[in-house]
């Protein structure tokens, strides 16, 4: 189904992909490539979470569960040695969507604050499964032995540039897909559910089903983020599914602004930058991060992205 603006979005995405591919050529330090892959993986996690938070008004505090499930499923499938990378990715996304469907079927029936803490509870459940099922997941050591990257269709991901290019392409494809949902009639139905659920019900929208639909989609997208990170670090660790990862994703959304489609990506970029700078100077990374969050929330009372966006809009209006 074509919608107006799709061509423009596709063009923007193509330009973004070109930029992502050119950047490491212009600045060939491997550190930049590493940084960008982290931004893409966490950015994808935050953007997928924002489909729930910003678009539907469902504040999930357990989104990292699907991130971890993506990383672990993909890692385990590749370690089994029976499938190629694309097949493993498709299977991982499908498997995670199934998990999200089961958890979502219970969670989306709850109202907002219950929803937050039950999603958190389920995430910690998955985290504890990862920790206790040592024979499968390696427990707190993470998935050991590395994740093999057998070549497929002539692409060899053991080579740094190819790996980076593949991650960038998958990332941009997912962004375009999420943008499509964001602007679709379904996306507008979700906005109505966020703003006025009883009206949504009256107009004939099946609220529970719509919420479940976006919950599963967001979970599937988060699993792709997990796949990208697992592919890059060649492993999977229980921290991927710990509650702090969900907290960070929420902070990224807030940093960038929840009402802008690319807001969470900006937030992911800022937070990765902050994390990298902080860890150089101190090991008490939580303390600094906590203080920064308090400063921003209590000082600006909104995200940095939303703050800048509003000022820009006000300026534009003043000019008219």
């Amino acid at each position: 189904m074509m919608r107006p603006g799709l061509a423009r979005d596709a063009a923007v995405c193509a330009a973004g992909l070109a930029l992502l591919l050119v950047l490491p050529l212009a600045f060939p330090q491997p550190a930049l490539r590493d940084f960008l892959i982290y931004v893409m993986a966490y950015g994808l996690l935050a953007m997928s979470l924002n489909l729930l938070v910003g678009l539907t008004g469902l504040v999930s505090f357990g989104h990292a569960a699907y991130f971890a499930s993506g990383a672990y499923m993909f890692g385990l499938l590749m370690q089994s040695g029976r499938v190629s990378i694309p097949v493993a990715i498709v299977a991982t996304v499908a498997g995670t969507a199934l998990i999200a469907l089961v958890i979502g079927a219970i969670c989306v029936r709850l109202k907002e604050i219950y929803f937050s803490f039950i999603t958190l509870a389920f995430q910690m459940f998955i985290h504890s499964i990862i920790l206790t099922w040592v024979s499968l997941t390696g427990g707190d050591q993470g998935l050991m032995g590395g994740i093999p990257r057998p070549p497929f269709l002539g692409i060899n991901l053991n080579e740094g540039t190819a790996l980076y290019g593949f991650c960038a392409a998958v990332f941009v494809a997912c962004v375009l897909l999420m943008r499509q949902v964001w602007m679709s009639p379904f996306g507008y139905a979700l906005r109505l559910i966020r703003d006025n659920p009883s009206r949504a019900n009256f107009v004939g929208i099946d609220v529970v089903r719509a919420k479940l639909g976006i919950f599963v989609f967001a979970g599937a997208m988060a699993s792709v983020a997990g796949v990208l990170l697992a592919l890059f670090v060649s492993g999977a660790y229980p921290e991927f599914g710990f509650w702090t990862t969900s907290g960070e994703a929420i902070f990224m959304i807030m940093l960038g602004g929840s009402q802008l489609f690319v807001g969470p990506l900006v937030g992911a970029f800022l937070l990765q930058l902050l994390n990298r700078t902080v860890t150089i100077y101190t090991e008490h990374h939580g303390l600094v991060l906590g203080l920064v969050i308090l400063l921003i929330v209590l000082g600006l009372r909104q995200g940095v992205g939303a703050f800048l966006f509003e000022r820009l809009a006000r300026r534009r209006q003043a000019r008219r």
Partner: protein, 301 residues
């Protein structure tokens, strides 16, 4: 699954007594934490995600006071009152600024608070596991009951929690202050119009809620290992208790906390790898059968 072990335990009175006492102390600690969480939610309408961090601070305050004075009474008071004060400061400086904003902001400040608390504990007490040890006052021979042995401290712990729960219930339901607090939960403008300082009352309620977490932390300190980050697991369990018991009901919290306590104590024998799963299964069943919780008044939908 190890049903033989479970059947073996149930048929032996000694094992039964031990497991029941374990279930009771797990349940009682959870009840303390959950009732504080539930009180704050009921009156202020916010979920304090940093509640687990308060529990942790209670345990560490008690540990520090015990190491200084080697008196358990002082340690207990330090845990309870220290965390109560901390709660009031947190409410005044941070939480009160995000009332009425969206859940996202409340979640974020609590997230920040947990990160800060965990790191401060790491800096002050060190990242390694800490043990407080059994206080001298409770170095008594365990009490024998039907062939099983219960440590004297467990009996004290269960009694103290029940007493505090009873005081809380009486305070809210039978006193004038409790009536004001209940009114505050329903119509804060009206309470303010009657000349009552609602700001003070909000801070007070938050303080009492935090104090309950501190009490739980102080009571747990002699029986558990202390680590930075110990608050998260009890926070998750108290969420489950709230959902099962129904939000805003003290009796519901007690029943659900005991239910979880028994599920944990006997699950540890019957299916040790699936104890967490058992709690979630219980919660899922309650959510499907009665979404508002066992004794919840308002529906959770």
């Amino acid at each position: 699954m190890n049903l033989d072990a479970l059947a073996g335990c149930v048929s032996s009175s000694a094992c039964l007594v031990t497991q029941i006492s374990t279930a009771l102390i797990v349940g009682m600690l959870l009840f303390m934490v959950t009732s504080g969480l539930s009180l704050i939610f009921g009156v202020l309408g916010i979920i304090n995600f940093a509640h687990g961090a308060f529990y942790m601070m209670g345990a560490y305050f008690a540990l520090a006071a015990y190491q200084l004075t080697s008196s358990f009474a002082v340690a207990f008071l330090a845990g309870a009152l220290g965390v109560g004060l901390l709660g009031i400061v947190f409410e005044r400086l941070v939480m009160s600024r995000v009332y009425g904003t969206d859940v996202l902001m409340q979640l974020l400040v609590c997230y920040a608070m947990i990160l800060i608390a965990d790191d401060v504990v790491k800096i002050v007490f060190g990242p390694e596991y800490k043990m407080m040890g059994m206080p001298d006052a409770f170095a008594l021979p365990p009490i024998e009951l039907f062939g099983g042995f219960i440590p004297a401290y467990y009996v004290f712990m269960i009694g103290a929690s029940l007493l505090i729960g009873l005081l809380l219930w009486l305070g809210i339901n039978k006193t004038r202050l409790g009536k004001t607090i209940r009114a505050l939960a329903i119509n804060p403008q009206m309470v303010g119009a009657l000349g009552i300082n609602t700001t003070l009352l909000y801070a007070g309620v938050f303080g009492i809620g935090s104090l309950l977490a501190g009490v739980a932390g102080a009571l747990a300190a002699p029986t558990r290992t202390l680590t930075p980050g110990m608050g998260v697991s009890i926070l998750i369990e108290s969420f489950i208790v709230t959902v099962i018991g129904g939000m805003g009901s003290i009796a519901g919290a007690l029943i659900a906390a005991l239910l979880i306590g028994f599920a944990r104590a006997f699950g540890a024998i019957g299916c040790p790898l699936f104890v967490d799963g058992l709690m979630f299964a219980l919660m899922a069943v309650v959510l499907v059968v009665k979404p508002s919780g066992l004794l919840g008044r308002e529906p959770a939908r």
